[in-house]
Amino acid sequence: MGKHKIGTTSEIQPGQRKIVFLEGLSIGVFNVNGRFYAMKNVCPHQQAPLCKVTGTTLPSKPGEFLYGREGEIIRCPWHGWEFDLTDGRSIFDPHKCWVKTYDVEVEKAEEPPRAETFPVEVVEEHIFVHIHR
């Protein structure tokens, strides 16, 4: 295992995801309200590609519907099994069924090397370069 750069934060906006292929594994990287999570793109049930993100109905009293966790729940596109994106745990049985997750680090991008530049002003077609030190 190693550390892999998979892109920049501007590529994955809140609510979006990017699927990457690292060390033979298909992994989904998600932006959930500004925080990044990575999850194996394979459902533990029958190996479907997990790809949809949604909210879900929270545990409630009979007849009551409480909707929440918008953007934090993955629903498998085959049988609909739900997983918490933030820790990989299944909703229906968090202790016995989960999807592998991976740590995500966001690091500031290094400034690319640049040549030193100076402001330029044009007066009556004479070009002046201002040197400020």
Partner: protein, 356 residues
């Protein structure tokens, strides 16, 4: 790439694949004008449907059309992916729930023409697709004529109908259908979906409130139909009749047959035409497809169940592609002994459908 080139292992047989028309207009073109203007599709309609997705969400063909409507995408996503050497198509025309029997008959006929013109016609150069004659069992005389019409087609391997019905399947009402099946030596595949819809009676003493209840209790229909077929002596009257129970799951058959065999010991007097224990008719006359596999947490329990249900002879693999509860043939089962795997994944179907 052909199936044989895909791997060194033998190909499997998928006993339940659903072809979907690209649009209702595709079906309408086979209907006389009167029905064409009335036909709006629909089956369970607004009553019982998966609240999220009825089809696998990754099964939409890239070239357009709904999931399951493109034979070549099915070849890619199902046939080649899982090394399938034959896919048994079960079109779902949804005809038997209509009170207007002529309407139901027209729908069934149109679907049969469509399938012959496409999936088992020009779209089947490699012969990978085999299919089923759809019938409106609510009109058994018309259904028998439809069977006679299509039985000779080289890619037809069975007749199919819905488990939703007004009569239990052993009822004499269905005799014309069984006679037609036997005339042509075609099995009858019973597939759920219209139980309790339209004129059909629910298998439960009340309407389930939620789709999960309705879906779970589909097995109740199959239990009732199977007991009826066995106790009415259907297989004595029609010794060549073979039945497939598709998409009703399978493990329920174990305690059901224990119970029916127990009852038979006491009550044979009432049904003297049943000449042996009811469970002894299963090997010669009944098969079950595997999906949706009711797999418990304990794989050992499940293997015991397979042994108890005589899976070696009765069970045939099915995926139900492209529906949401599709079973992945590489992942749905725990590891099976090779002999049992071969029986379930291709040998039983090859023998039953005479595919070799």
């Amino acid at each position: 790439m052909t199936v044989q080139e895909n791997s060194g292992k033998p190909g499997i047989i998928d006993c339940d694949v659903h072809p979907i028309p690209k649009s209702l207009d595709q079906i309408r073109q086979y209907m006389p004008k009167f029905w064409r203007d009335r036909f709006r599709g629909g089956g369970r309609g607004l009553f019982y449907g998966n609240p999220f997705h009825g089809m696998r969400q990754d099964a939409i063909p890239p070239d357009g059309g709904p999931a399951g409507s493109d034979p070549n995408f099915v070849r890619k996503q199902l046939i080649e992916e899982y090394n399938i050497k034959k896919a048994i198509l079960i079109p779902r025309e949804n005809s038997c729930q209509f009170p207007d029997l002529d309407f139901g008959n027209a729908i069934a006929s149109a679907y049969n023409e469509w399938i012959a013109d496409t999936w088992i016609g020009p779209d089947n150069p490699d012969g990978v697709f085999k299919s089923s004659i759809v019938i409106n069992h609510s009109d058994p005389i018309a259904a028998a004529k439809e069977i006679d019409r299509w039985a000779g087609h080289k890619h037809i391997v069975q007749v199919t109908t819905d488990s939703g019905a007004r009569f239990l399947m052993g009822h004499r009402n269905f005799h014309p259908i069984f006679e037609a099946c036997c005339r042509h030596n075609l099995p009858l595949a019973i597939h759920p979906g219209l139980d309790g819809i339209g004129i059909n009676i629910l298998p439960s003493p009340g309407n389930p409130s939620h789709y999960i209840e309705w879906h779970t209790c589909m097995s109740l229909s199959f239990m009732a139909h199977l007991v009826s077929l066995l106790t009415e002596g259907t297989f004595e009257r029609y010794p060549d009749l073979r039945i497939v129970l598709v998409e009703g799951s399978s493990t329920w058959i174990v305690p059901l047959m224990w119970r029916l065999d127990m009852e038979y010991k006491a009550l044979r007097y009432e049904i003297p035409w049943v000449k042996k224990r009811p469970s002894e008719y299963l090997r010669d006359h009944v098969r079950l497809t595997t999906q949706p596999l009711e797999r418990p947490d304990n794989d050992e329990d499940f293997l015991h169940m397979l042994r108890m249900m005589d899976a070696e002879h009765l069970l045939m693999f099915s995926s139900d592609y492209p529906h949401w509860d599709f079973d992945n043939p590489k992942a749905a089962f725990p590891k099976l002994p090779e002999k049992l795997y071969n029986r379930i994944f291709f040998e039983n179907a090859e023998q039953f459908y005479r595919l070799d």
